[in-house]
């Protein structure tokens, strides 16, 4: 049993929901669960290391990945970033923020039946490229966009 499954069951145990689901047969022990937290990827301090840890050494830069992020973020503490992949067979979408202390912000699994699009909000320490990495049909593709981070406001 992988760690995240164990954690999920532990969580379920304390709250009753997952154990109830298992008992009802809604969740079968053999069901595929999300991959374990990829420590190697989240520890990566550069885009190259992050891509290597994600197994995506030289992704092809493509136009079929749309990134929604502000040109200038009012506040680096909360930067809304959305990604849509138009690549058939998309199974994973990852957010990489080049200038952050840890490059990888998020890795999303897209099971069959789930649309290859996601939105979340990230922290950015400074102006940086935001790369969206997509795994489609087992291959890696990417697009990126620069987001400027301002230190706005009056001095008072």
């Amino acid at each position: 049993m992988n760690p995240s499954r164990r954690q999920a069951l532990k969580a379920g145990g304390s709250l009753g929901l997952f154990s109830a689901l298992v008992a009802l047969g809604l969740v079968k022990p053999g069901d595929a669960w999300a991959e374990a937290w990829n420590k190697g990827a989240f520890d990566a301090k550069s885009t190259a290391d992050a891509l290597a840890a994600l197994g995506a050494n030289a992704p092809t830069m493509v136009g079929e990945i749309a990134i929604t992020a502000p040109d200038i973020a009012e506040n680096g503490a909360v930067v809304p970033v959305g990604a849509v992949s138009n690549l058939p067979g998309t199974t994973q979408i990852a957010y990489l923020i080049e200038k952050n202390p840890s490059t990888v912000a998020a890795v999303f699994d897209i099971p069959p039946g789930t649309l290859p699009e996601v939105q979340t909000r990230v922290k950015m320490g400074q102006t940086s490229n935001v790369m969206i990495l997509v795994k489609a049909d087992g291959k890696y593709y990417a697009a990126q966009k620069e987001v400027k981070v301002t230190v706005g406001g009056c001095g008072g």
Binding site: T150, G152, C154, G155, G156
Partner: protein, 208 residues
């Protein structure tokens, strides 16, 4: 400021038949209540002491008249403020525009979260457009971009700019601009740097 002089003026303001209190007949009562409430409700914090709630004469005149004192009173007060401006002994009013730009950027100083005492920032960009490269500027005051280009940089303009920064109330008694030199917030050399920022040929303010 000469307090006796101002009190006399205040009496004159209030005694003048032409002087009309701007709101209702009870506005004075509300003002008194407001002042009493403020004195009760504030506490000293950091460098911001309760003495800051004591109006000086000019503030009092502006507060009592909705910032529009009768012309004669305004003119007298402006004269007083102008007379109190200390001009540099060396006669030179142009400092270093680069230091001026740095000073103009800072809005620090005098709040209860700021380090007490001097130096404090010039606060200029909070209210004015100045150098074209700074796009984050306020609009409470007029744009000062191209100021030297438009107004020249002769001795009279230099003197005016120095005096305006030292005490804006010398030219418009209830101006919204602080009296930076008058209150001792900015020192002579700093004001000179700001004069240079607005007037120097090589200042970005006058570029193009």
């Amino acid at each position: 400021m000469d307090r006796i002089n101002v009190s006399t003026l205040l009496l004159a303001v209030l005694g003048m038949p032409a002087f009309v209190v701007p709101t209702t007949a009870t506005a004075g009562d509300y003002r008194d209540q407001a002042l009493a409430m403020v004195k009760r409700d504030f506490q000293a914090k950091g460098s911001a002491g309760l003495d800051r709630l004591e109006e000086d004469g000019l503030q009092s005149v502006c507060n009592r008249t909705g910032n529009h004192p009768p012309k004669e009173i305004a003119a007298r007060l402006e004269q007083d403020q102008l007379a109190s401006i200390e001009m540099p002994a060396d006669g030179n009013l142009m400092g270093d525009w680069k230091a001026g730009e740095k000073l103009a950027q800072s809005g620090r100083g005098f709040t209860w979260t700021d380090k007490p005492g001097l130096p404090v920032g010039g606060n200029c960009y909070n209210c004015h457009r100045i150098s074209p490269s700074e796009t984050s500027f306020g609009t409470v005051g007029p744009s000062l971009y191209q100021f030297g280009k438009l107004r020249g940089k002769g001795p009279e303009v230099q003197q005016y700019v120095y005096q305006k920064i030292f005490n804006a109330k010398a030219f418009n008694v209830c101006s919204e601009m602080p009296r930076f030199g008058h209150i001792g917030a900015l020192k002579e050399a700093q004001i000179k740097d700001l004069v240079a920022l607005l007037l120097a040929d090589d200042s970005p303010v006058n570029s193009k």
